[in-house]
């Protein structure tokens, strides 16, 4: 890939609007991710978090603004070409290929792989629980196992930008903890990570910066180290004064 300076901006959303038909889900959101950084986008159900990821992967068109990646606009680049540019998503609800085995899911994830550290072996090393399940159809796995496959499948493309959508959704806290324990190894491999979550605590523990969405608008943007849990909670739910007025 073309070399932009490490630490430079990898992903840059500028005043992005997204609509579902007549319904506007995202209002003028701007968000920049530096290379190697981990950022979490928090917000309640329906705040527009997954919509934002769909716009970055190209599954939804943006209706205003621009999404720039590695210095160039993603406008007009179809979904299936973005993974080859280094953008990979572990989608909400896992979305594994249920009739394919765990191993086959990983192999499909590596279809447009760039050169890099991730392959079947390193994914099994990251998630040892998957190794004995290799030949199992993905449809019969537990939620936590499926989520591990979904993350592994995204890693197989050796992403420069890894998008994680609601890793914690529907999983027991202990399982969520285990999955998040894999994140340091992923960021150490050089990937820039955008974590979308409802589970504030887990996401804040791994992220450098936090970006809160409230009803499709940016409610808070800060370094994790410089923000209190109350501030984030206010931005997450909308402050009391907002609710009254």
């Amino acid at each position: 890939m073309t070399g932009w300076a490490p630490g430079g901006v990898l992903l840059d959303l500028v005043g992005v609007d997204v609509h579902y038909g007549d319904f506007q889900a995202i209002y003028g959101v701007s968000l920049a991710l530096a290379e190697g950084e981990t950022v979490t986008v928090l917000g309640a159900n329906g705040a527009g978090k997954s919509t934002l990821l769909k716009a970055i992967t190209g599954m939804l068109p943006i209706t205003a603004g621009d999404i720039r990646y590695g210095g160039r606009s993603l406008h007009g680049i179809p979904v299936h070409q973005r993974v080859g540019m280094g953008i990979a998503l572990a989608p909400e609800g896992r979305r594994l290929f249920p009739s394919l085995t765990v191993e086959e899911n990983l192999l499909v994830g590596g279809h447009r792989a760039r050169p890099g550290p991730w392959n079947r072996r390193s994914v099994y090393e990251l998630f040892p629980l998957l190794r004995p399940l290799r030949k199992r159809p993905a449809g019969v796995l537990s939620g936590g196992e499926q989520q591990a496959v979904a993350i592994g499948r995204a890693l197989m493309s050796n992403p420069r930008l890894l998008l994680l959508d609601e890793v914690s959704l529907g999983l027991a806290p202990i399982v969520v903890k285990q999955l998040y324990a894999a994140l340091p190894a992923i960021t150490a491999s050089g990937a820039t990570v955008l974590v979308v979550e409802q589970d504030m605590r887990q996401a804040m523990a791994v992220a450098d910066r936090v970006h809160c969405l409230l009803e499709g608008r940016t409610a808070l943007e800060a370094q994790v180290s410089e923000v209190t849990a109350d501030q984030v909670a206010n931005a997450y739910f909308g402050s009391i004064t907002d609710a009254v007025s």
Partner: protein
């Protein structure tokens, strides 16, 4: 004809039906498209072979080298250019468009070749047979067709299980949107699946044209047999398709053994019976492809 003979011939006939059904099953499995022009494309392939036989003096089996890739290329272009536009949540546009194609193909063939019954000639091989017992003989040609059908299904199954392209095709069948996230161009994948389906239907059409008469109006009957084989066996399952073809072939031949005029009816009755008692087919979906 003894009952044993009827069953053996029925099994062999089932190979032919499975050959017809494979493409239908594949297109449904990958794209959820029911191609109502499937039988007519088989007849189109047979006429394509007939033209090559008449003009270049080729053996019908040699024409396969041209007809099969030719129809595959046609299928690819048809999917990219036309059928892709019908892909969506509703199955209706694809049904209507392929129904229209069925009428177009039938009338085009009628214009070009008249309504006469035609046949592809293969000489003595067509009528030769192994004599197994006094009242049981297996024709060379039906045996070859059966072997081709089994080989095709084994090959297709290996392709879908063992190759990366096959895995991508199954992934696209499971979840087209997520497959695109993995870098799969689903339009290309659909067109490739259609190309394979058209290759198999061309093969079936030519072999059928050697075994029996065909005319521009033969397509819908072939479609019904293919349908019945797919439904009896279980939708979206290649081995089910072979089993379905065999069940249909045996039902027809045993029916003919009981009452010669009711061969086709017997097949329909078994089909309806399966539909009533086991609508998911003999081998339910979810079993390996």
């Amino acid at each position: 004809m003894t009952l044993v003979n009827a069953i053996v011939q029925g099994v062999l006939l089932g190979g032919m039906y499975a050959l017809f059904a494979t493409g239908l099953s594949l297109m449904f499995g990958v794209m959820r498209v029911v191609n109502l022009a499937h039988g007519d494309f088989a007849v189109l392939g047979a006429f394509f072979a007939l033209v090559l036989v008449d003009s270049a003096g080729l053996s019908p089996l040699v024409t396969l080298l041209i007809v099969v890739p030719g129809m595959a290329a046609f299928g690819y272009l048809l999917q990219r250019g036309l059928l892709q536009r019908t892909v969506g949540a509703s199955p209706l546009p694809a049904l209507l468009v392929t129904f229209g194609l069925s009428i177009v193909v039938q009338n085009l063939l009628l214009q070009l070749f008249s309504a006469d019954q035609r046949r592809l000639q293969l000489g003595s091989f067509e009528t030769g047979s192994f004599q197994i017992a006094d009242d049981l003989a297996i024709g060379y040609f039906p045996a070859v067709v059966f072997a081709i059908a089994v080989a095709l299904l084994v090959g297709l199954s290996l392709f879908l299980r063992r190759t990366q392209l096959g895995r991508l095709m199954r992934a696209t069948s499971d979840d087209q949107e997520t497959a695109r996230l993995m870098g799969v161009d689903s339009r290309n994948m659909y067109a490739l699946a259609t190309a394979i389906a058209f290759a198999t239907v061309a093969l079936a059409g030519v072999l059928n044209g050697v075994q029996t008469n065909f005319s521009p109006a033969s397509g819908p009957t072939l479609l019904i047999f293919a349908f019945e084989a797919v439904i009896i066996g279980g939708l979206g399952n290649l081995w089910g398709t072979l089993l379905g073809g065999i069940v249909l072939g045996v039902a027809q031949n045993v029916g003919a053994w009981i009452e010669p005029a009711q061969q086709v009816l017997a097949g329909h009755l078994v089909f309806l019976l399966v539909l009533a008692l086991r609508p998911q087919g003999l081998i339910a979906k979810g079993a390996p492809v």
